[in-house]
């Protein structure tokens, strides 16, 4: 048992999985000597050598494209894209190839790749360093899209992603990297991909969040408990796609109301699928429309305005109150 922040927990997952399986290698910009700009790959190169922990040239499409080739050969590359904002450079390799090779080759090949990316705001960063692009991956059949919310589930989900035979996009909230430490057992753990968790039980409304927004959801639930005396059920998605509709629907069948929180812009965003899926499965239980608390439909606003753009506790509380009052 040790208290780890998310950076250390992720680093440990990489260590453990690389020790467990010689086919796992790490590839990306500055992941070797520098240990990654956020230090998630710290010390890996020292331990596993520069053939297994590769400082690549500055080219995202080739990072993913060569990793696809390695995966076709049977290796299990874990790629780091330095910031999720730079993954559109390799979006064609992800969509054209990572997501499709199993289908295209009718099972002869599969792509056991993990693509890690820091995402989201909260670190006073420049453009392309604070966006939240999970929706783009969630809509691609053949991919899985995972977003942990704390050190322990981050470690367990990264281990699961590395062992998963299919391509996993793994988003790490930058604002969580050093936000909190958590007790993490020494032995490696694996959490199933594709399952949401009830982070707090309640009966008045289902509040759905993931990644850095989970904390916002939980704090909002605190406020609502303390100020309004209502018990909000908080769900931590953990996996965006494939979406755990069963858990969402079961919760809303109980509570009758839901609010979704995410950092991505609203329109055509992940909240839409969550809302539509809940409507599908729990229509007769729904007592109010499902509200979405999200970033606005605007490009990067500059970090001086970020706080006003990304959901915060007051906005979530207000949306829950409105939904409860509907």
């Amino acid at each position: 048992m040790a208290k780890l922040n998310m950076v250390k927990a992720l680093n440990q997952a990489l260590f453990q999985e690389m020790e467990r399986d010689g086919d796992v290698l790490v590839l990306g910009e500055d992941v070797g000597v520098d240990g990654g700009v956020f230090r998630v790959t710290d010390d890996l190169q020292r331990k596993f050598g520069s053939q297994r922990v590769i400082d690549s040239p500055l080219a995202e499409a080739a990072i993913i494209g060569t990793a696809v080739g390695m995966a076709l050969y049977g290796l299990k590359p874990v790629c780091e894209i330095q910031f999720s904002g730079f993954a559109f450079q390799c979006f064609h390799q992800i969509e054209n190839h990572c997501a499709r090779y199993r289908m295209r080759s009718q099972g002869r090949f599969h792509i056991p790749i993990v693509i890690r990316m820091p995402y989201g705001g909260g670190v006073r960063a420049l453009e392309h360093h604070s966006e939240s692009e999970e929706q783009f991956y969630a809509h691609i059949p053949g991919l899985k899209m995972v977003v942990p919310s704390g050190p322990r589930n981050a470690r367990a989900l990264l281990a699961a992603a590395i062992r998963d035979p299919d391509p996993v996009i793994f988003f790490e909230a930058k604002s969580l990297y050093h936000a909190a430490k958590e007790e993490v057992p020494d032995e490696s753990e694996v959490m199933p991909i594709g399952r949401a968790q009830v982070a707090r039980e309640g009966d008045a409304l289902t509040l759905i969040g993931y990644g850095a927004m989970l904390r916002v959801a939980l704090e909002a639930a605190d406020v609502l408990r303390d100020e309004d005396g209502v018990a909000v059920e908080v769900i931590d998605l953990l996996t965006i796609s494939p979406l755990d509709r069963e858990t969402l629907v079961a919760s809303v069948r109980k509570t009758g109301r839901a609010v979704v929180v995410h950092e991505a812009p609203k329109s055509f965003g992940p909240g839409a699928e969550i809302a539509a899926s809940i409507m599908d499965g729990a229509f007769l239980s729904l007592e109010a429309p499902i509200r979405r608390v999200t970033a606005h439909d605007v490009p990067f606003v500059g970090f001086a305005r970020e706080k006003a753009n990304v959901p915060d506790v007051p906005r979530v509380v207000a949306a829950v109150r409105e939904t409860l009052a509907f």
Partner: protein, 380 residues
Amino acid sequence: MPRIAVEPRFQVEYLSILDSDGNLDTALEPKLADNELKSLYRAMLLGRRLDERMVRLQRQGRIGTFAPTKGQEAAQMGSIFTLRPTDWMVPSFRETAAMIWRGWPIEKLLRFFAGHLEGGQPEPDQHDLPITIPVATQLPHAVGLAYAAQYRGDDVVVMAYFGDGATSEGDFHEALNFAGVWHVPVVFVCQNNQWAISVPLKKQTHSRTIAQKALAYGLPGLQVDGNDMLAVYAAAREAVDRARAGDGPTLIECVTYRLGVHTTADDPTKYRSDAEVAMWEQKDPLTRFKAYLEKRNLLAEGLEQHVDEEIAEAIRRFEATPPPDPLTMFDHVYAELPSDLAAQRDAMAASDPVVPAREGATAPTQPGATPMRGQRLTRR
């Protein structure tokens, strides 16, 4: 303004052994055994005849759009012939002749072009990637395969195919750059057939050759007469041996010509002259290599007929392919079917009647289908 020259001075070379007039540079003539020469010629011929047959199948609506090989048989066969089965082939979409050499059954390729994904499935022991449609995107895969082979310590060379147009894509650049830095065993074979659909080479790049693009990555680059089987073979042999010996990647530019349509949806009369095509027909790689074999008395009797029969049989097998079961579309999305996808599958299974495949292998073109413009006949 005088300046200091940076050493070394770069140079790009052009290799030709058997020219279109039949002149042979005997000093350079590669030492190929008689049966090797014969099987090379047979593979070229098979490529050519199949190509012609496939254009007809497409016109009849029995397969969909495909990209003919015609004119590029030497570029393909001369290079692929240097690979071992344990080496990897990374094709683009025009390497029919080379793919058949690598063991793809003809009927499988036909299924592929008839819209059945089963046609794109390599055999378990086959070291071949399937056809890649997005131009140049397969090149980093080749580099990754080569890296993995090197990582595992396997004695493997990777050969990747692409066109002149592909050299404009960012993926070409990034792949060659990674290959140079990683020093991996890849041979990049560019079939410079002068055209990327309607765009001629001079609108594609201001570079005098494609071979010289290798200099940007610190790699050797060589230009070769791509219609000269012997020259392509010699260049590829050298590059493959170098890669196998651990001496890194090479870029080979095969100067060739697409004698036919870009794909069966293309009408080349719109953008290039008959005279140009006629000029290149004089350089037909098949005639040239045939003449060489003739001189060496290696031409087998009735080869055309054998080849045609092989093709006809494959087409019979292809036409006997049962229509595809739509439900299998869910089989290879993930290792395990997620629940919502399972529900989609169940809904399809429950729908009554199961939607029949409208466009199976043997179905003629739908009357209502959009006429892809190339489906009207063109002159070549």
